[in-house]
Symmetry: C2
Subunit: 189 residues, 2 copies
């Protein structure tokens, strides 16, 4: 299983945001929606071997984790509103520390970065990291930030993770996921 | 200058579509919006050396071409609605056979695939093409289809173009653009 974990520093933790204003009042939820698209969509099929974890740290709190499983998810179309609509339903669901399923293949719980960091061996996608094309063995799990840099507290938590670069230019999180998955595809040939 | 030409087989040729229903009544305009995003966005900057041509073939007709220039475009944000809003304005503008600017860096004219195919030396992105990583010299201009296959008539027009593949799995058009641009970035290092 491949995993991508994306931190949404301002992303709404309540489902009462408008699908018409995801970049604004929903705290750049559009960034996370595009990451979901990049994780799962192939032409006329879904990537069943990918899981997408989103850490949502915005208002009103507490922070939440949403997990989308590629081998289970339903009702997901490629457009941003479709992913946003599934996130709204997940964030509308009352939840505790354990994952609850909101729609098929979409799960939500309370939690922060720390609560998930030790579950898998993540590699950090970082422009100063080692080029993924130069690695003999590629990691299965990757950590990215949204449009904001990691906070000092986050940077301290992740300082010992291996750093991997997707190319010479600094890309948006969703584009980075696409490039990484293309490299993994090539190694599975 | 790098160029991507994307055919929107059902994409609305009028600006009266709803930004809330781009996958539906706008004829999969969401696909073209994501291609615009992939063409231009880097983290905290735009790709000034890319031009994005869209061929819109949907209702009510006649077919139109929209050109977005990376070194001129303004008012473009990464979310689908932002690109959709610029396309609405372009398609609302009365136009003839010559390009007219609708908003800064966005141009529109009447026209079809044939009218643009001879302007540049396009390569066709095709899963059966030669892997771009194996090319000594990479093309500057690429042609893609949206979610639909090329029609028989289009296939006849493009049958002599060099075919290039972006990887072993068939990807969405926007993901393909991202992977191609990553390869071009690496060759400019």
């Amino acid at each position: 299983m491949k995993r991508f974990l994306v931190i949404g520093h301002k992303a709404s933790t309540s489902g009462d945001f408008s699908l018409n204003d995801m970049p604004g009042s929903a705290g750049r939820m559009d960034v996370l929606c595009r990451c979901i698209n990049s994780c799962f969509f192939l032409s006329h099929s879904l990537r069943h071997d990918v899981e997408c974890y989103l850490v949502l740290l915005g208002e009103p709190g507490p922070s939440k984790i949403v997990l989308i499983k590629g081998d289970e998810v339903k009702y997901l179309s490629p457009d941003e509103r479709s992913a946003g609509s599934l996130l709204k339903k997940a964030l509308d669901l009352p939840c505790g520390e354990k994952l609850r399923e909101s729609t098929k293949g979409v799960y939500v719980r309370k939690g922060d970065l720390k609560s998930i960091l030790n579950e898998f061996e993540f590699a950090l996608l970082d422009e100063n990291g080692k080029d993924i094309r130069d690695l003999e063995n590629v990691p299965a799990s990757y950590l990215l930030s949204d449009h904001q840099n990691f906070t000092d507290e986050e940077a301290e938590m992740i300082k010992d993770l291996p750093k991997i670069s997707a190319g010479p230019k600094i890309m948006h999180a969703d584009h980075t996921i696409t490039v990484i998955l293309n490299e993994l595809d090539r190694r599975e040939r």
